[in-house]
Amino acid sequence: MSPDTLWLAVVVASVGCYLLKLAGMSVPAAWVEQPWVARVVDFVPAALLAALVAVQGLTSDDRLVVDGRLAGLAVAALALALRAPFIVVIVLAGATGAGVHVLTG
């Protein structure tokens, strides 16, 4: 990807996300408060974040790949289940990924 394309993506996405915020402050509430709209919007984060967890943790290009990232995810899940703070979760996952990299290097 060229630097220009990358900048374009950064700026377009930033302006778009801002306009989504501004729209909420500006449109009549009835447009957004339809039950099915509210419900679909309520589900988008869970679906998207889970899809990103899966793609970031288990794929490389167009292939499924099992490596230290999966071990890091498992450790992160355990830490989250034990209600560890965000920074602890992140450090443990990173250390696990690094450890697997060193061991399998």
Partner: protein, 232 residues
Amino acid sequence: MAPPDRSRTLRDAVGLGVAVGLYGIAFGAAADAAGLDAWQAMTLSLLMFTGASQFALVGVLGAGGSAPAAVGSALLLGTRNTVYGVRMAPLLAPRGAAGRAAAAHLVIDESTAMAVAAPDRELGRLAFWVTGGTVYLGWNAMTLVGALGASGLGGTAEAALDSVVPAAFLALLWPRLTARGSAEPGAQRRVALGGAVVALALTPFVPAGVQVIVAVVAVALAGRPRTAELPA
């Protein structure tokens, strides 16, 4: 308005700003790992200023996805801020176009949650502005630290960073799947599982990043309630 309420609101808002700053380090590092320079990471934190969308953009780019797929993922996650804005508009009643433009920029998960949780309207406004302001400062300062700190790392540190990004997404997702963070944890878990399965199943067949968007649209529409399920 009782002073203890006011000081508690201020204390919580500042604490949240500091805590979110820690996510900012992770974001700066993730942006660097995805091939963005520090200017681009800072542009996102200053202008986009909505963490999950920022992580989604750099996550898709880092996975080799196209610019439109990355932008699409960021915008999909940004839609919830529209709903927050609808809730915040009557509470904040911003004056004029400039007031509305400024308030809109600070409409994020944290500022909305703090404003909604405040005991009355005046404290709600205070909570919104102070939380939004402290999170903005903490998020941007720590994005810079993460983006600069992550450049020039070796192979083992890159492997660590590769594991940090999916873990950060999991940490963002986790509260939505628990009874403490969601009104319908069971439904949210099914949605999350569906999103992950569809995205993985599509990975060999579609360009990088597109599987994420298709998974979200498919699962969100499938989760749409039948008429009978709607609350009265």
